[in-house]
């Protein structure tokens, strides 16, 4: 299935374990790694992140001082039972939510406290989100959904003057995920796998540096789910895209380079 040889995967895993054991000292580890071209800098990191949920009078702690480092070009899966805070962690990493305490770093700088405008830009350009329930806009076609981040990121004139270029990029991405025949279909006319592939194309349209996938196969049958995983794996290998995948399924988690477990609000 995977294009990555087991040896490479082994190296990557050892590398990430090294980095994980030396939080904040990723630079020191860099010269030791075999693949010098692959930057060992943690592209995305959480530092002692805590997050509570309030249910009426009760405070439910979800994340209790969690640390994680995600290296550039890594395909990492976070595994945990449902309700353990996997999605919350992903939302925090993707700046969709604020941690109660602790910090989120991207490319070495803190991003959980920056101005909302910059956060919006970060979400638009740097992170790509893939959700369990696809989250496509029902009013737009597959092509329209894929173009949506470009429309959001550009002003009216910026978009209109580049729309041919944008359109061809969107068509290219949709072809890459095998949907060149579904460009003008509305989401309700697509199957679950097709919707998820559209969502992946949407996540990739702005050339993100990190793809954050929240149970991307959770709503799909095994075959469709495997197709999605193959696409993710290809992206990771061919485009060196950093992928963070959250799942509760051991079998799916195992297809990532590295798997971390979220137990009782901490990573193991």
């Amino acid at each position: 299935m995977s294009n990555v040889s087991p040896a490479v995967r082994q190296q990557q895993q050892s590398k990430s374990q090294q980095a994980g054991s030396l939080p904040g000292h990723a630079h020191d580890a860099a010269p030791d790694t075999v693949q010098a071209s692959e930057s060992p800098v943690a592209i995305l990191a959480a530092r002692d992140v805590r997050k509570n949920y309030h249910k009426g009078q009760n405070i439910i702690p979800v994340l209790r001082g969690l640390d994680v480092d995600i290296r550039e070009g890594e395909f990492i899966s976070i595994i945990g039972q449902s309700g353990c805070g996997k999605s919350t962690l992903l939302h925090l990493l993707g700046t969709l939510d604020h941690p109660d305490t602790g910090e989120i770093h991207f490319s070495g700088s803190r991003v959980d406290n920056i101005a909302s405008k910059k956060r919006d830009q970060l979400r638009n350009e740097t992170f790509g989100f893939v959700f369990q329930f696809y989250h496509l806009l029902p009013e737009l076609t597959a092509l329209g959904n894929v173009l949506l981040p470009l429309m959001i990121g550009h002003g009216l004139f910026g978009y209109l003057s580049n729309r041919k270029k944008f359109r061809s990029r969107a068509v290219e991405l949709l072809s890459m995920v095998g949907l060149s025949h579904r460009l003008n279909h509305k989401p309700r006319e697509l199957s679950g796998g097709e919707m998820q592939r559209t969502a992946i194309a949407r996540a990739l349209i702005n050339g993100p540096r990190v793809l954050l996938a929240d149970e991307p196969t959770g709503n799909l049958d095994r075959k469709a789910g495997q197709e999605i995983l193959n696409i993710l794996r290809n992206l990771n290998v061919n485009k060196n895209l950093t992928i963070v995948m959250v799942t509760h399924d051991e079998g799916i988690a195992a297809q990532a380079d590295r798997t971390v477990r979220l137990i009782e609000g901490r990573l193991e």
């Binding site: 969709l96 970060l122 806009l137 978009y159």
Partner: protein, 524 residues
Amino acid sequence: MYKIILCWRYLHTRYIALASVISVTLGVSTLIVVNSVMSGFTYEMQHRIHGILSDIVFDGHGLEGFSDAAWHMQRIREVAGDDIEAMTPTVHVPAMLNYRVQGRWVHRQVNFIGIDPETYATVSDCTAYLQHPENRKQPSFKLRNGGYDVYDHVLGEESPYRHGMEVAGWPHRQWVAAQEKAWLVAQKKNTPELAVPEKVGKSDPFSGIETPQLAAESDQGVAQQWGPLTEDRIYNKAVEQETGIIVGYALSQIMGRDGDHYFMVLPGDDVQLTFPAAGTPPKAVSGSFTVVDFYQSKMSEYDSAFIFAPIQKIQQMRGMIDPSTGLGNVNSIQIKLRAGADLVAVRDKLRASFPPEMYGISTWRDKQGPLLAAVQMETAILNILLFLIIAVAGFGILAIFFMIVVEKTKDIGILKSLGASGGGVMSIFLTYGLSLGTVGSGAGVLLGLLFVRHIDNIRHWVEVLTGQPVFDPSIYYFQEIPTLIQPLMITWVIVGAIAIAVIASVLPALRAARLHPVEALRYE
């Protein structure tokens, strides 16, 4: 970009929102119709008020008037200079009009106005309202030999036919004269000492009017014998007229609810006028006058009150002429300004130069100030009430938008996760409100303009359907509902409606902007 696309998608996939537009549409179209009709009324009324009044009226207080109109006109010209185009002296006096219908006297209270037929036409448009085509060209106090309008000369044959006007003028007068003779003959016959022997005739068409049997026997002979009576030789009604007067149209007739006219007096009839003579205490003087024409300004206040006569006749009858100088007193001087002159400025200049305790100087607007102000106030209140309708529509938009925001919560979360800012999401809904307002007011303007254009057809159908007269032409003498479309008014209505729609969408838009993306994504 996504704002416009999503807004467009929401517009034509959420028809419930379009339902909220209907109330905007109705509000806007009602506003346009009401404003057009009100300004149409105002315009017509001003036109008619002004038509009969001159630009500025220079009044001496009281019925005595002031003497030497020529000197006053000279002074006025010195003060106002180039702004004056024409002036004419007039005499106004309250009077009572008396005429006989079927043997019974009818009295009407009128405003008797003496005018100089040579110059009066230069200061006011009154000649346009006369009912004889020749009089409209050159007004005259001489009775015409028929040819009076049987239809409204402005509206043409669409207006109701005026039964009786076809014989108005000398033919009518001769007919009346003959009838009176016949009646007198019959009277004399009934009184034995006055009775005269006669032969039986056949040809008199008026024989059957009073006492048919007697008349049938006696007419011809009496008519022949009546001729040489002394009274008739002095004044032969059939060929001579009294001093001519021009009578307000509404004074001459009653108007049925169906718009038909029933004339009680026609050109050619003689009427009595009673009015106070000059001097204190005023004594009533009466005179007989011949109606030579009607005028119809379609301003019911004037048409039912004004009677015009030659100024010398009134001055003479009221004793307003100074025997030593031969100059007649006048009550007022009507002034017409040249086109483009500032009415108020000239009035103020004149007011500054003439003592107010002696002279009242007012513009035609001042004269009808309360009426114009009342119409203006009505328009203002109606506008406020109708804008409240649009405000109600605004609340409809508010409610429906809240629903749409709740329905679209997840989509808002998606947009935010893709990097859309709160402001961006907010502007989707503001643009949405703007487009609803635009669509609503656009449709409203179209509907309103169509309504105004076909208002008389609509009135007709409403009247047919309900059986109730919606618009009674007898009140204002309008055959049609007057309308005037003012582009500025329409612009303001559109701007107001759109503003209300946008304001109503602010709250839902704010709510959408403040949605937490994670909460929104979790929303199912």
